[in-house]
């Protein structure tokens, strides 16, 4: 912390002439693609400088997978290897869905730190700021997924759907997560602090992930709960992902995931943009 003080004091800062400070030209507005690119670069640089933020996509998946496989494997399914075939797709869905909330947290931080204000006074296409960040988040979700699937394979997970099936599952997860992220960006713009956003996402995600078919076969549940489980987006995704991985996926299962994703995006993306433009 002292180095800058020494450096700053040891040298008289002589500012060059005003010509250097004044820009020589006023470039044309950047294209939408270039704008998205600039924001995506920022997100990538943030990963480079704050690698800790990758804990959620590396450690979480590992811990979750090991914990649930060995803790519940024996009790629920009789054997861990058998349970893993059922559990891995579901737990993958759960983990990736939960880490989508970090998108909202990052945005919330930008607002509180005033960076958001700077972007908002630029003559740019504003959604680019969010889309650029979300695209990099999709990379993060892929990393989390790949780590989990890799670890699963080591532990004895044998997807009958083969490579194609796993890739199909991954694509579905990424599409769904991208759509789900818009909920957190909207909430990130509404709530005051990072803490309350965490709380809120916990309140939303806990019931969604646990009252689903991620851990247990819903046929063991009371009928009123079965109703909720069957319309729960997490269950819908988990079913399709399981189908893909085990080679039993149906068109209907895939379409439902896409429908849910489109609905989430259609509601929360415009809502987020509305909030983003009108935030005071």
């Amino acid at each position: 912390m002292t180095d800058y003080i020494e450096q700053d004091a040891s040298r008289t800062v002589e500012f060059p002439m005003s010509e250097t400070i004044a820009s020589s030209k006023r470039p044309a507005r950047p294209t939408v693609l270039a704008t998205i690119g600039a924001f995506a670069t920022r997100a990538l640089l943030r990963i480079k400088h704050v690698p800790e933020q990758m804990f959620d996509v590396t450690l979480f998946p590992v811990i979750f997978l090991l914990m649930f496989t060995y803790l519940f494997g024996g009790a629920i399914a009789g054997s861990t290897a058998e349970y893993l075939q059922f559990l891995l797709p579901g737990i993958l869905v759960m983990t990736v869905s939960q880490i989508t909330m970090y998108t909202g947290i990052d945005l919330n931080n930008d607002i509180r730190k005033g960076i958001f204000d700077r972007f908002r006074t630029l003559p740019i296409w504003l959604p680019a700021a969010l889309i650029g960040a979300l695209l990099v988040d999709v990379i993060r979700y892929s990393i989390a997924s790949i780590i989990m699937i890799g670890l699963g394979l080591l532990l004895g997970f044998r997807p009958e759907g083969g490579f194609i099936g796993v890739m199909g599952a991954l694509v579905l997860i990424l599409i769904f997560s991208f759509s789900l992220s818009w909920i957190w960006t909207a909430l990130g713009l509404i709530v005051r602090s990072e803490k309350s956003l965490m709380m809120l996402s916990f309140l939303v995600m806990m019931p969604l992930t646990f009252i689903s078919n991620v851990f247990v076969d819903p046929s063991t549940l009371p009928s009123w709960l079965q109703g909720f489980v069957s319309i729960n987006p997490i269950s819908i995704l988990a079913t399709a992902v399981r189908g893909f991985m085990h080679g039993t996926v149906t068109a209907e299962q895939i379409i439902w995931v896409l429908v849910v994703s489109v609905i989430l995006t259609a509601i929360f993306a415009p809502f987020t943009m509305y909030l983003y433009r009108n935030k005071e």
Binding site: S18, I21, R42, H49, G114, P123
Partner: protein
């Protein structure tokens, strides 16, 4: 309020024209009917204590907040209707650094340059040019969170002028800086004005407004209570101020009464319990005042006579000093 839009002629000389700007938070009128006419090419200062409404006014003019009432033209464009045009020609450096602290200075400026439409190569060139111009070359590859307060302020301003704006808003650009860093920021502001930018800055420091601003608006409780050049403001208050430092604080009331009766002047008591401040228009009366005090046996340790400082301007406009007002504000929060 809306019909006044027609009464607000667009002027080529004015960077900002505003009429009746109002912003209400709950029951509080944070900005309460502000009129402005800020000519191009100058430094215009908003001077006011904490909570006066400086930031709120600036944020409205910079398109970040929607006024509850009033109209404004910024660089000839209608605020609210032509925000995109306004945004392409203004820049704002907020009260708190608005830069990505996790990124390096170079990365921050390069990103801003790309967002302004520079190609990747041009963006890097512009970023290095600015880092050099702002004396941040050696810190270019360091994360901004490792910068000192003064360096942060400079990188923040640099990010605002990647493309030189026609109008730059600086919200308390020197708060919390040491005199040296403050001078650096002042130099930057002077250079920008030299290259044709209009600067609107806010400050709580009377000295800063005095030194830097060509015209000053004194803001208090959401209203502009005085406007003019620093000398105009001082002249409005009276030609001179006599400050007397007493040896014994208990003499203060007696000294005040004496001056009021014999010299027929208004007397202020400031925070210092051993000092008396009197408005005196005729310098010849100063000698008389001093000898009156001596005759009554009131010992003086020091005295000064001069044109009023902006602090005294503030005092006479509001009835209390700028700093005193700031304390009062904090108590009510």
């Amino acid at each position: 309020m809306l019909e006044s839009a027609k009464q607000l002629p667009r002027s080529d000389f004015l960077a900002i024209e505003a009429k009746g700007l109002v912003k209400i938070y709950g029951k509080q009128r944070a900005v309460d009917g502000v009129d402005l006419a800020i000519p191009k090419g100058m430094v215009y200062g908003f001077l006011g204590p904490n909570g006066a409404g400086k930031t709120t006014t600036i944020r409205m003019l910079a398109t970040l907040l929607k006024p509850d009432a009033g109209v404004a033209h910024v660089l000839g464009h209608d605020l609210g209707k032509e925000n995109d045009e306004i945004r392409s020609r203004i820049s704002l450096t907020g009260q708190y650094a608005s830069i990505d602290e996790d990124l390096t200075g170079m990365e921050n400026l390069t990103m801003m340059a790309k967002l302004m439409g520079y190609s990747r190569r041009e963006a890097k060139m512009r970023a290095s040019e600015l880092l050099k111009a702002f004396g941040l070359e050696e810190a270019a590859k360091r994360q901004v969170k490792k910068y000192s307060g003064g360096m942060r302020r400079r990188i923040d301003i640099a990010a605002s002028i990647v493309v030189t704006p026609d109008l730059l808003f600086l919200d308390e650009p020197t708060s919390g800086l040491d005199p040296r860093s403050r001078n650096q920021v002042w130099d930057i502001v002077r250079m920008l004005v030299g290259s044709g930018t209009t600067v609107l800055l806010t400050t709580q420091y009377l000295e800063e407004a005095d030194q830097l601003a060509d015209r000053i608006a004194v803001i208090n409780k959401g209203k502009i209570i005085a406007e003019g050049t620093s000398s105009e403001l001082k002249a409005a208050v009276g030609s001179g101020t006599l400050n007397i430092q007493l040896v014994r604080p208990e003499d203060r009331v007696r000294a005040g009464n004496l001056l009021q009766q014999k010299i027929l002047t208004t007397v202020h008591h400031s925070g210092d319990s051993a000092s008396v401040t009197a408005q005196i228009n005729d310098p010849a009366l100063v000698a008389e005042a001093i000898s009156e005090l001596a005759r009554e046996g009131i010992a003086i340790s020091d005295f000064s006579f001069g044109r009023p400082s902006l602090d005294e301007v503030f005092l006479s406009l509001t009835g209390h000093s700028a700093e005193g007002e700031a304390d009062a504000e904090e108590e009510t929060l």
